[in-house]
Amino acid sequence: MKKDIILAGVGGQGILTIATIIGDAAAAAGVNLKQAEVHGMSQRGGDVQSNLRLSTEVIYSDLIKQGSADIIISMEPMEALRYLPYLGKEGVVVTSSHPFKNITNYPDEEALKGELEALPRVSSLPIEELAKQNSVPKSANVVLLGMAAKYIGILTPEQLRESIKRVFASKGESVVEMNCKAFDLGLNA
């Protein structure tokens, strides 16, 4: 079994935290993993992505082939669309619906929404609002992971929740609780 995931967003939105949690769960479950990250110049408010590959078999390439990603997980709707050529036939897009506008030529929001909703399998929520309304404003990225957890398959939501506990353990009980709550919010949405 394999799952190829593209994580997308804007520098600073916390996609690498999502990658860290999935990575920890994969390591604990003995699932093979390769995860290519972007460091350096592009982190300064530019588009960032990470190719995350999970498999019970040997993984060769650090990069995902076009047309073969099982899930695109994105913190931003336009960034989700950026990687469509990589999406597999049965692939799912899980994204925040809230545009992050740090450029002057951001596309028309309605047109963007229309293009996103026209996809066969898409799950889109205002994760920042959800996080705020539920008093976990700093954990929007973990809400998104909760939404994606339904589709990851090779790792169960329970395994991911255990990883959240391990990854945030050093930051104290309350941070762990906040992130578990955020995860369940996304999972049950």
Binding site: G11, K34, G40, R44, G67, P85, L119
Partner: protein, 529 residues
């Protein structure tokens, strides 16, 4: 066996620590920075303070090797240009303790100004080159590289690319080796490269070449996968091996030779050529192996690769472009979206460089012929909208020296913008040139107290810039320190105007801490409370 999830850079770092290094010498540069950072955090017994530039790093490592201990030098590919003098000559002196030079190349220029291939430097210096395909190999190769270095008495170059350096995978870890004991070399003729000695040393380097080739031919990192009745054979170098294997060559009747050590293993390549009708050379970076293999097999044998257009001439390899070269059909289920525009990086909100460019743009607008020479760092982003403030960015330190040359030619005002870390890396010597020639330039050292672009490493000159400038001969009345904040705009623009009008070298130091390192400190403080 214990398996750890490590970035390629971290696997290299841990491999080097477990190989018993006593020091790591480096200047930060994407994608190599995390190697030294990992050692700084996880191996306090290893000497690991950041160096001023790649040349000082290379020389310090050579000194440690001279003293009998193992040393690692890390840099990004363009750092090899800075270290080249010491690097090439370390092939002539040879080494005592094991010495490994790690060059992290950046094909596709994700964070660089070119995509030069460091393997050429290894060939140029006539030393062994290793090129891992996986994080596990990167780890395993470190003890191997140090042993090879001590066996051949030569430095070893290890070359990686961004996609290995910045990709994470599980790595099995082995038992660490102890550090070498202090054992300075007493063979002076090896180290004193007067022409008489240098000729002998060079002859000895030339004599070692068959040994280097034999080591590559018998390397544990060369594998030949024969497919029955194969028409096509692939020479897959370093990370390219992964992209080839992703396309299931065995199923397609394609033979593969994995090459992760150089000089190129001639026998193995000839054996592959003999069982196939044509070869494809898959290598990330420039077509170095392709050219050599073409020469090795003669004009009649079909060798395909980047030079023949079967693979793209530039940019990094991917499983897709390698697949295309292997005749694998490409699938695309969804066309590129219509409502997507580029999102380039930008200077952070609240960054002091922003105020520096606001001020510079204001003053420069008053001079029709103003030219602003930029340099390498976050502030290079001043080239993009909304600032569009700089006219050049070439290499570390070039802002000052290019401004000098342009001023010599008659450009006025000629303004240089350079960051604090770049200034100590390669700007100080150029400033001395300008002072000695009384060049009519205005130098802005935009000091944010850190090496920001690579994530906030210590900057070699912090708290020393006024002293350095005065020591080099900048006149005190033409040396100014300002705080780049909107409220100080009037003062800053006045000083810039005044110093442009001064016929000689002036230095203005806008100083305010990087917003990223400042926020990090505040977060840490809050966490402790």
């Amino acid at each position: 066996m214990k398996k750890e999830l490590l970035l390629g850079d971290e696997a290299i770092a841990l491999g080097a620590v477990h190989a018993g290094i006593s020091g790591v010498y480096a200047y930060p540069g994407t994608p190599s920075t995390e190697i030294t950072e990992f050692i700084q955090v996880h191996a306090p017994e290893v000497r690991s303070r950041w160096c001023t530039n790649e040349k000082t790093a290379m020389e310090a490592a050579l000194g440690m090797s001279y003293a009998g201990k193992r040393a690692l030098v890390c840099m990004k590919h363009v750092g090899m240009n800075v270290a080249a003098d010491a690097f090439v000559n370390s092939g002539i002196t040879g080494v005592n303790g094991g010495l490994v030079v790690l060059a992290a190349d950046d094909p596709s220029m994700h964070s660089s100004q070119n995509e030069q291939d460091s393997r050429f430097y290894g060939k140029f210096a006539m030393i062994p080159i290793l090129e891992p395909s996986t994080q596990q190999e990167a780890y395993d190769m470190m003890p191997y590289a140090f042993a090879l270095s001590e066996e051949l008495k030569l430095p070893v170059l290890m070359r990686v690319v961004t996609r290995l350096a910045h990709s994470r995978a599980g790595v099995e870890v082995t038992t660490p080796l102890p550090q070498n004991a202090l054992n300075p070399d007493s063979e002076r003729t090896h180290w004193v490269l007067l022409p008489g000695n240098a000729r002998r040393q060079y002859a000895s380097l030339v004599e070692k070449q068959p040994q280097l080739l034999a080591s590559a031919e018998n390397s544990p990192y060369i594998h030949h996968h024969s497919a029955e009745g194969a028409k096509l054979g692939v020479v897959a170098c370093g990370i390219a091996y992964n992209y080839v294997m992703e396309n299931e060559p065995a199923k397609r009747g394609i033979s593969v030779l994995k090459v992760s050590q150089y000089p190129l293993p001639k026998q193995a390549i000839k054996a592959l050529a003999a069982e196939c009708d044509a070869l494809l050379v898959a290598e990330d970076g420039q077509p170095m192996a392709e050219e050599q293999i073409k020469a090795m097999l003669g004009a009649d044998y079909a060798v395909k690769g980047r030079l023949t257009g079967d693979l793209p001439r530039m940019g990094e390899l991917t499983p897709d472009n390698v697949g295309a070269a292997l005749g694998v059909e490409q699938t695309q289920n969804f066309a590129a979206a219509e409502n997507v525009v580029p999102r380039p990086p930008a200077l952070c909100q609240g960054c002091g460089h922003r105020d520096v460019y606001d001020a510079l743009n204001k003053v420069a607008a008053e001079y029709a012929d103003a030219r602003i020479f930029g340099d390498i760092g976050c502030y290079t982003l001043g080239a993009l909208p909304p600032f569009r403030a700089i006219d050049s960015c070439v290499d570390m330190g070039a802002s000052i020296t290019m401004a000098k040359g342009a001023a010599d030619a008659g450009v006025h005002p000629a303004i240089a913008v350079i960051g604090d870390s770049t200034f100590t890396h390669s700007g100080m010597t150029g400033l001395l040139d300008a002072i000695n020639d009384n060049s009519n330039i205005t130098v802005i050292i935009s000091d944010n107290l850190t090496t920001a672009m690579t994530g906030g490493q210590d900057s070699a000159g912090t708290n020393k810039f006024e002293a350095i400038c005065k020591g080099l001969g900048v006149e005190p009345e033409h040396l100014h320190v300002v705080t780049p904040l909107p409220k100080n705009m009037e003062e800053i623009t006045r000083i810039i105007r005044q110093e442009i009008e001064y016929k000689g070298v002036s230095v203005i130091i806008p100083r305010r801490e990087c917003i990223q390192t400042l926020n990090r400190k505040l977060r840490q403080k809050r966490a402790q409370q």
